[in-house]
């Protein structure tokens, strides 16, 4: 006795006027990859970002072979050759009252291509070294933030009850603190000291401090949407169906809820990284971020403050670097969001 024959192969597919795309026969992650590969915006911005990272990683190579300077040593008395003639890096100021010294401006040659900063250091080389730190801090703090926010958000959303109450209130209270003020406060308290936790030692001026602070400060920004998503998933039909099938709560969390939360987290990653680059540069600009002798795009901007009118390139270069990197991250992030959440793609 057979069951009803599969007559639906004779019937038409879903109403095309509903705008359904033709899905390929692959899993959800493959589709994401396909979507990214198919978008020129995503591919170009990803490629350029990779180039930027490689460029910053090549900073030592640049400093040694191209610029021939040590970007961390003051070059107050250094001289370089331009058109065969030796030129001092720090020159007598010719502007205003003619007092003081001004560093050399952009030579557009291999040495001091973008000029020197107030201590006679090669700006171009420092830009690349600074890029290493800026990107490292932004990336690490993004990962840290997403990790903590995921744990907090999932715990609050899934466990509910008292746990949710405590966590939500904590998140709200931290979020009520204006982000920059909180970051500045924490930085001031923590910089200039070293910490020891058992076998770990964080030396004073280590990059871990800004990473920690920037990572922590944006946790509420991510944790709240994650919590919302988990709450929504808890009420969703397929989770209810899984419960009805008698699936254990642990497995529901692992196999049904977590994979669907991960998409939200992934969408946050590029946006958060862009935000963190700007935050780090702002904090370093205010002298409460990366501390000398470490360099970052923010510290170079700090150095450039006093030289703004005489040697604007010291401020222009890192600012442009930040702008380009953030722009590329946002472009990539937009495409990523469209691919992971097709509903919002209609808003393009």
């Amino acid at each position: 006795m057979g069951a009803s024959p599969e007559q639906e192969t004779a019937l038409p597919p879903a109403d095309p006027s509903a705008g359904e795309k033709v899905w390929s026969r692959r899993g959800p992650w493959r589709r994401v990859l396909q979507g990214l590969l198919g978008s020129p915006t995503a591919m170009i911005s990803a490629a350029l970002l990779v180039l930027i990272v490689i460029a910053t990683l090549l900073a030592p190579v640049y400093a040694k072979h191209v610029a021939g300077t040590d970007p961390f040593r003051s070059g107050l008395s250094a001289k370089i050759k331009i058109d065969g003639k030796p030129v001092p890096v720090m020159q007598q100021s010719t502007e205003g009252l003619g007092l003081g010294v001004t560093p050399i401006g952009p030579t557009w040659g291999p040495q001091y291509m973008l000029g020197a900063d107030g201590q006679g250091r090669d700006v171009a080389a420092r830009l690349l070294y600074g890029g290493q730190n800026s990107l490292l801090i932004a990336g690490a703090s993004t990962v840290l933030c997403l990790l903590i926010a995921a744990i907090v958000g999932i715990a609050a959303g899934y466990l509910g009850g008292a746990v949710d109450g405590v966590l939500s209130n904590l998140i709200d209270m931290i979020w009520a603190f204006p982000v920059y003020l909180l970051a500045i406060s924490l930085s001031i308290v923590m910089i200039g000291k070293s910490y020891a936790f058992g076998p770990f030692e964080i030396s004073s001026g280590s990059l871990i401090v800004p990473i920690l602070i920037i990572g922590l400060v944006y946790v509420p920004y991510v944790a709240r949407p994650i919590r919302g998503r988990v709450l929504a998933l808890n009420q969703s039909e397929f989770v209810m169906a899984a419960r009805g099938l008698g699936i254990r709560p642990g497995r529901i969390l692992w196999r049904h809820i977590l994979p669907n939360v991960s998409t939200t987290l992934i969408v946050f990653a590029p946006m958060l990284m862009a935000l963190n680059i700007v935050t780090e540069s702002s904090l370093s600009f205010l002298s409460v971020g990366v501390q000398p002798p470490n360099a970052s795009w923010g510290t170079i901007l700090q150095d450039g403050q006093t030289l703004l009118y005489s040697r604007p390139m010291v401020s222009l270069a890192p600012g442009l670097a930040i702008m380009v990197t953030v722009l590329l991250l946002n472009l990539f992030g937009d495409v990523l969001r469209d691919v992971l959440d097709p509903k919002s793609a209609r808003g393009r």
Binding site: L181, V189, V288, V326
Partner: protein, 323 residues
């Protein structure tokens, strides 16, 4: 109804209390921070530090210090600064407030007008060159750190092109109160306004554009078109009206946070003595009473902004009014 309002007020007070405690703990109780050493300055002798400690009452138990500070801040209002001896905290904050208020209010007007115009125009010409141009500019605006934009603006207006007819009217950096010289007040605020607004125009423009385009997918837009309404009416009266609600909510939050002192970067770059700059300077020298006061000031505005936004929601979106 009254009970609801009272409970809301209570919640606001609780949040502010919580923030003040967190701030206090951060500065007074972190194991490696020693306020006395900070105040006494680097390389101070041990006796100096001890004297400072006694002087400022830092040897008392934490909760006593907290209580005293709160009392002097709110009740007797004679709290004095650690850094500048004899400077009264509350008047200092009160003096800085108008500068920040001027900056943020002016910028707010600009960015709301600009953002709404940008969003609507981009949505109306979706896919064509006005849209691409506006969105390109918006993305760049969002990518540039606000203090860097300020520096570039200063470079042009104060230095490079200062002597040209275009920018010769721009005064030196700094803030002049309106009551003192309205003309000067205005001229010195123009570029700070534009700088701060630029970022938010980009942000809000993008948000509104996306919001309008998403709203166009809604069924009630289809009904409006079927009724025979012109494209312009559908866009402005139906789609925008619905899409603008999240923008208003965001505006409330952003305005509150900025007035409370989050505009610190703009203030520093343009030399405006506002609350943000005051907070930053206090933080740098660990002027703890000033820190407490400014942080409370900031959190007050955040909390008020939250409440106002909730109220606004009820007013502009009738769906929220269901009992």
């Amino acid at each position: 109804m009254l009970a609801a309002i009272l409970s809301r007020l209570l919640r606001m007070v609780v949040v502010m209390f919580g923030i003040s405690v967190i701030t206090f703990l951060i500065f007074f109780a972190t194991p490696s921070s020693d306020p006395a050493a900070r105040i006494a300055g680097k390389n101070a002798a041990q006796e100096t530090i001890e004297a400072v400690r006694k002087d400022f009452g830092l040897d008392r138990p934490l909760y006593v210090q907290y209580g005293l500070m709160m009392k002097r801040l709110f009740i007797t209002r004679d709290l004095t600064s650690f850094a500048n001896r004899g400077q009264q905290i509350v008047p200092a904050v009160a003096a800085a407030a108008p500068a920040t208020l001027s900056l943020v209010s002016g910028a707010a007007v600009l960015w709301m007008l600009g953002g709404i115009l940008t969003g609507i125009t981009a949505a109306a010409w979706r896919g064509r060159w006005p849209d691409k141009l506006l969105m390109g500019i918006s993305m760049m605006a969002v990518a540039m750190p606000v203090f860097w934009v300020g520096e570039m603006v200063n470079l042009i207006t104060q230095n490079r092109l200062h002597d040209t007819w275009a920018f010769s009217w721009v005064p030196a950096l700094g803030y002049t109160p309106f009551s003192q010289d309205p003309g000067l007040w205005f001229r010195s605020m123009v570029f700070p306004w534009l700088t701060l607004a630029f970022l938010y125009i980009g942000l809000y423009g993008r948000m509104l554009r996306t919001g309008i385009i998403e709203t166009y997918q809604e069924d009630f837009i289809r009904t409006a078109r079927a009724k025979g309404l012109t494209g312009r009416k559908v866009l402005l009266k139906h789609a925008t009206r619905s899409a603008i609600i999240p923008i208003v909510i965001m505006f409330g939050m952003d305005f509150g946070v900025l007035v409370g002192g989050a505009a610190v970067l703009t203030e520093v770059v343009f030399g405006i003595n506002g609350v943000g700059r005051l907070t930053y300077q206090a933080l740098k020298v660990l002027d703890l009473p000033m820190i407490m006061a400014t942080v409370l000031y900031a959190s007050f505005f955040v909390v008020v902004a939250n409440a106002v936004v909730d109220l606004l929601c009820l007013l502009i979106d009738p769906r929220m009014r269901r009992a």
